[in-house]
Each structure stands twice: as C-alpha cells, then as structure tokens.
C-alpha cells in the first residue's frame, strides 16, 4: 500500500495539472485567435484610413468615408458617467448590507435581489428605460431648456449605471465582510462610532476591492450593446453635452453589421470591434496596475 499510494497520487496530480494547463492554454489561444481574426479583417480599413479612422468624425457609408471618433467618445462618455453614478449606489448598498443590516434573512434576500439584477437581459433594461425613464428625462430636458429628445447619453448612462451596480457591489460587499473582526472591534473599543469605523478602518482596508469592482463594472459598461442602442439616440456626432444623443462602438456594430455591403464597409466594422477590444484591454491593464500599486498591508497609510 505504501508503495502504491504515492504513485497514484502523482498520477492524479499530474493529470490534474495537465488538465488545468490545457484548459488555460485553450482560453489564451482563443483570445489570441479572436484578436488575430479581428486584426486581419480590419486590415483593409486600417490601410485605407490609417490613424484618420480614430480622429475622423464623419461616418458616411454611401461615400465610403469612415471615422470612429463619435463612437469612441460616446463609448467612453456613457461608460464613465454610468460608473460615477453607479459607484454611489453600489458603495452605499455594500456598506449598508455588510455593516448596518443585522437581520440575516433580510440580508440574504437583499443580496440575492441585487444578484438577480445581473441576470436580467439587457434588452429588458433598454425597454424599461425607453418606456419609463425616457419620458421622465424628456420632462427634465424641457424644464432646463435643452432639445427634448429624451433619449441620449444621459438616459443611456443612467440605465447602464443600474445595470452595472450588481457587478461592483458583489465584489465590494465580499471584501468588506472580510475586514478582520478584531481590527473593527479594537476601533470600537477605542470609542469610535460606526461612521468612523467605516471611514477609517473598512474603506481603507477594502480600497483594492473597490477598484476591482470599478474595473469589472467598467468593462461591462464599455461592451454593453442592446440597452445602450435603444436609449442613446444613435446619432453619429460627438456629443455636445450630457443630454445630447450620441452613439457607441458596440451599438454601431450591432446596427450596421447585418446590412453592411462592400468589403471596405465590412472591414471598418471589424476595426470598430478591434478598437473596442483595445480600449477594454488598456483600461483593464491600467486597472490591475493601479490595484497592484495600492495594495499594501491593511492599516498602513
């Protein structure tokens, strides 16, 4: 038996390691393959327009003039506006659930309710936004005297903000509940009140978790297609203000891909996809750098 056991374990362990190896290389290979396909398909557009594709703001499929600047600004503007709005709510929800809610049943009910928000299809969010939110925003626009479109950057951002709340709050909640009890209790015993504990102990402790939540939800916001295309107004201009209609990278792809005729037109849509891919990549890389820099042992300032 004694001779048998190690060899068996080695076999299991070895095959387990191999399995993990294969699975992760397949994933890496797929990402690489997607990138190569997109790059290859966009080559024609890259050759034709060069850097002018990113700086150009005209989109004219009839004359074969393509510039993606309106879509890039639209994507960044909606995603970051949505992020700012949603962080207020996801932070408050996480703090409330982990620190103020003592009733276990209600707490798990609230938690699963927020998780369900992530499972709602985005077309439902878009539809709800169109039916319910857009008329309200139109009233607001009439009061402040801008063109009462209703749809636009602001409407899209608002619905996006709601959609990404569960992504950030799930992570932030988890890291908050991992704050060591003894540190919290030490603070309480020194006479700190709840607000002081949250501000001085918990929030500094979960900084990295908050940033991880931010980048996860930002990635989701950048790529969201259906709800945004229903609410943004699909106007191919660089937005003048937060209420103005616009368009995003993902939304122009979903709108024009099916009927794109002509090779160059087709290729530009692939380049749009490539730009979206790169923006997401850059933001995520920047994110992990920030998190790495911030990561210091708890309590240190």
């Amino acid at each position: 038996m004694k001779n048998n056991a190690p060899s068996k374990y080695t076999f299991v362990e070895l095959s387990f390691e191999k399995l993990l190896n294969i699975a992760s290389s397949i994933t890496l290979f797929l990402i690489g393959a997607i990138f190569i396909t997109m790059f290859h398909s966009s080559l024609q557009a890259i050759r034709e327009f060069g850097i002018g594709f990113i700086t150009g703001s005209q989109w004219d499929p009839v004359a074969d003039i393509f510039g993606a600047l309106p879509f890039i600004t639209g994507t960044l503007l909606t995603s970051f506006t949505a992020l700012i709005i949603s962080m207020v709510f996801s932070l408050s929800i996480s703090i409330y659930i982990s620190e103020y809610l003592n009733n276990g049943m209600f707490r798990s009910f609230l938690k699963s309710l927020i998780e369900i928000m992530a499972a709602i299809p985005s077309v439902i969010y878009g539809f709800w936004g169109l039916i319910f939110l857009v008329p309200l925003i139109r009233n607001l626009e009439m009061k402040i005297g801008v063109m009462p479109y209703g749809v636009g950057i602001f409407s899209a951002s608002l619905v996006l903000a709601i959609m990404i709340i569960p992504y950030a709050s799930a992570i932030i909640y988890e890291v908050m509940s991992m704050t060591p009890k003894d540190i919290k209790e030490a603070a309480y015993s020194l006479g700190a009140n709840k607000y002081e504990v949250i501000k001085n102990i918990i929030l500094p402790y979960v900084r990295t978790g908050i940033f991880a939540g931010i980048f996860l939800s930002l990635g989701r916001a950048l790529g969201e297609t259906m709800a945004v295309t229903m609410l943004i107004g699909n106007m191919n201009i660089i937005p003048e203000n937060i209420f103005s209609p616009g368009n995003t990278l993902a939304s122009v792809i979903v709108n024009e891909f099916a009927e794109a005729s002509g090779d160059l037109y087709f290729s530009t849509l692939f380049e749009i996809g490539l730009i979206l891919f790169l923006i997401t990549l850059i933001i995520n890389m920047a994110g992990s750098r920030i998190i790495k820099r911030m990561y210091r042992p708890a309590g240190e300032k």
Partner: protein, 352 residues
C-alpha cells in the same frame, strides 16, 4: 453495461430508421435574407408546409446577409429589398434572377397634438429630413395644411439606426426628389444622416415616434397601421396627395416594367400611385445545378416560388403588403420559366 449498450444501439439506429423515412417524404429548403417581408414569408411558408409537406427554413438576417449567403451558395434562395449590385452579381459568379414577390409602402408617420392628417410635398419632406425645416409651424408646412392648427414645436426627425431595405427605399425616394439630398446624403441602407435620432428596427422607429411629441419618422405601413399612428399624404409625381394603402401601393407599379424586374418603384409616373414604395424579391440562381445537389430539389424550389407569386399573394393584404399586379405576375412567370437544371428548363418538369 448491457442495458447501456442496448440504449446506445437504439439511439444510434433510431435516427437512421426514423430520419431516413422522414427525409424521403420531406424536403427542406433553405432561404435567407430580407426582414422587410419576413412577416409575410413566415406566414406563407407555414401554409406551404401544411399544404405540401415541404418545410422552408427562412432566416431573416437582412438583405445584405441574404446576398452574402447566396454568393457563398449556402442557401437555396435569397431574399432582398434592394436588387444586387453589379459587384455582388460578379462575386456570385453565375447569373442570379430576381423574382418580385410583393410591394411594400413606406409610410411617413408623426406625433402631433390631436393627430391631424397632414399633407407633405416631396420638397417639404426632404427639407425636413435635411434639417432645413425644423419647426412644425413653418410657413411651407402651413401652406400645405390649411385648416390644421400646427403647433410651434421643434420637428424631431427619427430614422432607422440599423442598415435596412426600408431606409434604402426612403433614401432612394429623397434622392430622386431632392437635388440637395442627392448631393449631401444619397441612397443606401445606411447613410450619413443629417441630425436625426436613430432607432433600431421598424418597431424602434414607431416606438420612438409614438413617444416624442413633434417627431416624424418613416416605417413600413404595417407598423403604422398596427400602432394606430397617423400617416402623411405624400404628393406624387402627378401632383396628387396620396395616402399610403395597399391599393395606392399596387398602383405605383402601373408603369412599364423591365424584363429583369430590377426597377425602383419610388416616385413613379403612376397617376394614383403612392410614391414611396419598394419591391421585394426572391433571388434564385438561373442554372440550378450550381447550387442544388439533385433535380428534385430544383423542382421543389421553382414550385415554391411559382406558388408564392400566385396562391401565396392572397396572404399579402392581411399583412399590409401589396400583392403584385397582373402584369408583374406575368413577368415573374416568364423569369421563372428561364430557370434550368443541366440546360433543361425546370418549369417544364414541374408542369408535366
């Protein structure tokens, strides 16, 4: 173990026995293309299956996708609202025939207080879409609509955000009636729109127009009718203000039709015709041996399209499409008769 192997054997044998007998009786034809007439296609294909046992699998992926699949020869037939360009025809490497199926009007709908019925001339409509006219009480609109109180409201222009045959018909019309439009924008399934809101699909445009006071948009007639939305009377080439309807749409085809039916039906000379009208086609290869693996599939395909331009026409009106006028059916018949399989006309075989 024994049970398992018996089960596996059954699972393996079952489709062979069952599947074979099923496919012997049942042919399945594959089609792909336009969304414009999809409601009609899904209706008539279902009826055709019930009557003749031939299943038709139609994917409404858009005209562009339908043409791409035709070129790749992955479908038996395509469907499109815009006839194939010469480049596409060249890519197909074999002659593709266009068989007209139905006509569809594109209605101009709007949202104004009290739902008045307004009239528009081609000039005013194109100026609205160009952004030259941007108030509802503009003298140009008022002049056409005496007796209607038009509000001092901004006009909010709505159009399709997705590439679509409906847009191609509408912009084809505007290109014909306005020189400024022809120069600045032109015709296409997606164009460089002057300032206007985009919404996805007919349902998106009708949804947005219904919601925004002062908005104007274009949709297939069916969507305006089903949503009880007002439609504008448009002045046609002979000076009459025509309301879009099945009748006025069919009348638009009262002109000389080219033998290959590749014609544009916007702004035609037809006296009582509605001017913003489009034709939708089914695409078939002329020499069917290029796509079909045997003659019986070729026969089924020709039989299907023959049925669509005859018996199938009666389902059009219920769904707000205009059936083909008699002359157009005759032309479509003649095109179908030219289809061959290994140089033998397929029509002669199905008629035996």
């Amino acid at each position: 173990m024994k049970i398992l192997s018996v089960l596996i054997a059954i699972i393996l044998i079952f489709p062979i026995v069952y599947g074979d007998s099923a496919s012997a009786q049942e042919t399945e034809l594959l089609g792909a293309g336009a969304t414009f007439a999809y409601p009609l296609y899904s209706k008539v294909f279902n009826i055709y299956y019930k009557s003749f046992g031939v299943r038709i699998n139609y994917q409404s992926i858009g005209s562009g996708g339908g043409i791409r699949q035709m070129i790749n020869k992955t479908v038996d037939f395509g469907a499109t609202d815009v006839y194939m360009t010469e480049e596409e025809q060249r890519n197909a490497k074999a002659e593709v025939l266009h068989i007209p199926i139905v006509l569809g009007p594109v209605a101009v709908t709007y949202k104004l207080p009290d739902n008045p019925e307004i009239r528009l001339t081609p000039e005013v409509l194109s100026n609205i879409y160009l952004g030259n006219i941007n108030k509802w009480d503009d003298p140009e609109i008022r002049r056409l609509n005496m007796g209607i109180v038009l509000p001092d409201m901004d006009i909010i222009v709505v159009r399709r955000s997705d590439g679509s045959g409906t847009t191609a018909i509408f912009t084809d019309y505007l290109t014909k009636v306005s020189e400024e439009w022809a120069q600045k924008v032109g015709t296409g399934k997606s164009v460089n729109w002057p300032s206007s809101l985009g919404a996805k699909g007919n349902e998106g445009v009708s949804g947005l127009v219904k919601q925004i006071p002062g908005s104007i948009g274009y949709v297939e007639l069916a969507y305006a009718v089903q949503n009880l939305m007002p439609v504008a009377r448009i002045q046609n080439k002979s000076g009459r203000f025509v309301v879009p309807s099945i009748e006025s749409t069919s009348l638009a085809l009262n002109i000389e039709i080219l033998k290959d039916t590749k014609i544009s039906l916007t702004n035609t000379d037809a006296v009582n015709g509605y001017p913003i009208t489009g034709l939708t086609w089914v695409l078939i290869y002329k020499e069917l041996e290029k796509v079909e693996r045997d003659i019986s599939r070729a026969e089924e395909l020709v039989r299907l399209v023959w049925w669509m331009i005859h018996e199938g026409q009666k389902y059009a009106e219920v769904l707000d499409y205009a059936p083909l006028p008699k002359e157009a059916v005759l032309i479509a018949e003649n095109i179908l008769k030219t289809i061959t399989y290994n140089n033998e006309p397929v029509f002669n075989r199905i008629n035996r």
